[in-house]
Symmetry: C2
Subunit: 356 residues, 2 copies
DNA sequence: TTGTACGCGTTATCAA
DNA sequence: TTGATAACGCGTACAA
């Protein structure tokens, strides 16, 4: 095997032109005569030229600005995880001239999203990573980004219609099915009442949550487990006095055997009530390895967590953008992360491996 | 924030010396006067110099040869997975002058290991990745590698005494505990007889397997689940006629409710017997997403798999070596991969994400 | 002991 | 339209 790679210099020599001409042909920069073009293309046709990306980044000496558009991490620890993934990717690429500017919008205000998205548009970054949790508000911006030729990557929530460079997330329907499988296991063969619980603080998320619920119900339909009685409960702002009343009413039902919670923050909120009310016979299944969730899992209040890997989602998002910008690498159109099951006994192995 | 990184040139300017001197200080090459040393160190103390690795690799223009020393992938699909991880890493680094030469030894013959390891020693690679499944046979070689200053990384099996650059694997004790937790769940609250089954084809593995068993038993001890009766079964070559007899004898016991199998290949062997004997009330828990295991899981014969991620283990091993050789990056002394739980409902999400 | 100068492969600039 | 050449930052050979 010939290890030595073919250089632009070699192509130039073979074609009988200069490196400058080859470069212009390779990058369609124009200003090349018919004659020279033909000669270079003939050589390129024969050999498989693979640019040395190391040399390219060094030579180009460009700096790239990436904009990360996401909910304010202070409003929800889930988004704090995402943020840390962005920071990690940023640290890794900083020395290669990549900077990431974060733009936070208010999780509960659509107008805040618009405002911030306009700021991004104005700043004209080289690439954009965005968690598009508000469907309608986001669409016009992608139209604009596309027109300006700025590549954008979506994470957490997909909007296939806007044709992003890449989407990173999970299969939500399957996630719900997995939640159901785990619930079924946790029930130890007994039957009874199961609750699907959404705490829908930001309304942008409702499609997200509905998809998980569909999967959850589908599992029991397929299996024909008619012994279970599944109810749905929508709660909103945990700070409202009605919240506690409604949740307590649910938890007080003696027949209730399990709760599937559709978001990560909601998981530890419900866990705290379960603990307070001493309802330790109710199995709880929720999302993500947030610090509070880890605590309740170790105590045995939470039975299973499904890891959505928010940190990794955002990390990969930045990486895909950088790969595309610097290394001209195509990103996968859909990167669906595995649905990781976290239980008491493998929790530590996830914590120490530091990827979560 | 100052985006531009500090270059050697900058340090030289600040210290009032030349780049050559700075370089000699940075790499302890000697031939530097007390005075100059002090000046440079003073500057280095103030600022956080991070070399541009891109420039370094470009300038070095070296080629590195890595040797991968592992069992023959044709003898066991588990090792075929490892091999594919090596190939993937190789493809990724080929253009940067890294080549990987694989050396396969016979899984069942210690002498074969010696032979191949000698070949590696003779070839004097720049780095070595090895799965040291034979303890005694491996030790002298590491002694030699250490003397020659060739860095080596271990995967799959750890031998801390040889002080490798890095070990990549899992916590086997905890892996067994997780197996027990899953078994307990799968039992649906019933009690009965549980079997721990080892198929110990290559004897090098026995410590490995014992560790998993210890964890498995520890779980039930901690939980005080006295309802279970746990037995251990050691089988050897599946091709011997006694094998089928012994295994059938075990499976014929009506009280048997679950089997925990300690290796990946053994998992689908047991699954095939369970299917043939129609013992579908016996819960089966084993290891790894081998093709056959995936098939039996989809059929419902295997209840849970614990993913040891053989592909990723090997992939990371090569990456750590490359990182150390090219980028002078310290590899983690112990990289313990998370214990991934695979069930029917998250199987596809792992398959499609392509990391397994 | 020190500093200068060149090469790595690519991109970008500029004079011809 | 072309080709020669200077960056990019690091490592290193070599001359002083």
């Amino acid at each position: 095997m010939n290890v030595k790679n073919i250089r632009i210099k070699d192509i130039a020599q073979l074609a009988g032109v200069s490196v400058g001409t080859v470069d212009r042909v390779l990058h369609n920069r124009g200003r090349v005569s018919e004659d020279a073009l033909k000669k270079v293309l003939a050589v390129l046709d024969q050999i498989d030229y693979k640019p040395n990306l190391i040399a390219r980044t060094l030579g180009a000496n460009k700096t790239y600005r990436i904009a990360a558009l996401m909910p304010n991490p202070d409003q929800d620890p889930y988004w704090a995880s995402s943020k840390s993934g962005i920071s990690q990717a940023e640290a890794e690429w900083l020395r290669y001239g990549v900077t990431v500017q974060s733009y936070f919008f208010n999780l509960y205000e659509k107008d805040s999203f618009k405002e911030v998205a306009e700021a991004v548009t104005k700043d004209r970054p080289d690439g954009i990573l965005v968690a598009p949790i508000f469907y309608h508000e986001t669409l016009p911006f992608f139209e604009q980004f596309k027109q300006e030729g700025i590549p954008y990557v979506l994470f957490n929530t997909n909007i296939p219609e806007v044709d992003p460079l890449s989407f990173i997330g999970q299969n939500l329907f399957q996630s719900g099915k997995l939640g159901a499988e785990l619930m079924h296991l946790a029930q130890n063969g007994e039957s009874g009442m199961l609750a699907v619980l959404h705490i829908n603080e930001d309304l942008g998320n409702s499609v997200h949550l509905a998809e998980k619920e569909k999967g959850f119900r589908e599992y029991f339909l397929e299996k024909n487990h008619s012994g279970y009685n599944i109810t749905t409960h929508n709660l909103y702002n945990p700070n409202e006095p009605t919240f506690e009343k409604e949740l307590s009413a649910l938890l007080d039902q003696p027949a209730l055997k399990g709760i599937f919670v559709s978001t990560s923050k909601a998981t530890y909120i419900v866990a705290s009530y379960l603990e307070k009310l001493q309802r330790n016979n109710i199995k709880l299944i929720g999302y993500d390895m947030l610090q509070e969730n880890i605590r309740y899992m170790k105590k045995g209040v939470i039975n299973f967590l499904i890891n959505q890997n928010p940190k990794r989602q955002a990390f990969l998002g930045i990486n895909h953008l950088v790969g595309y910008l610097i290394l001209r690498k195509e990103a996968p159109a859909n990167e669906l992360l595995p649905l990781e099951i976290i239980s008491k006994e493998n929790l530590d192995s996830y914590l120490s491996s530091g990827i979560h």
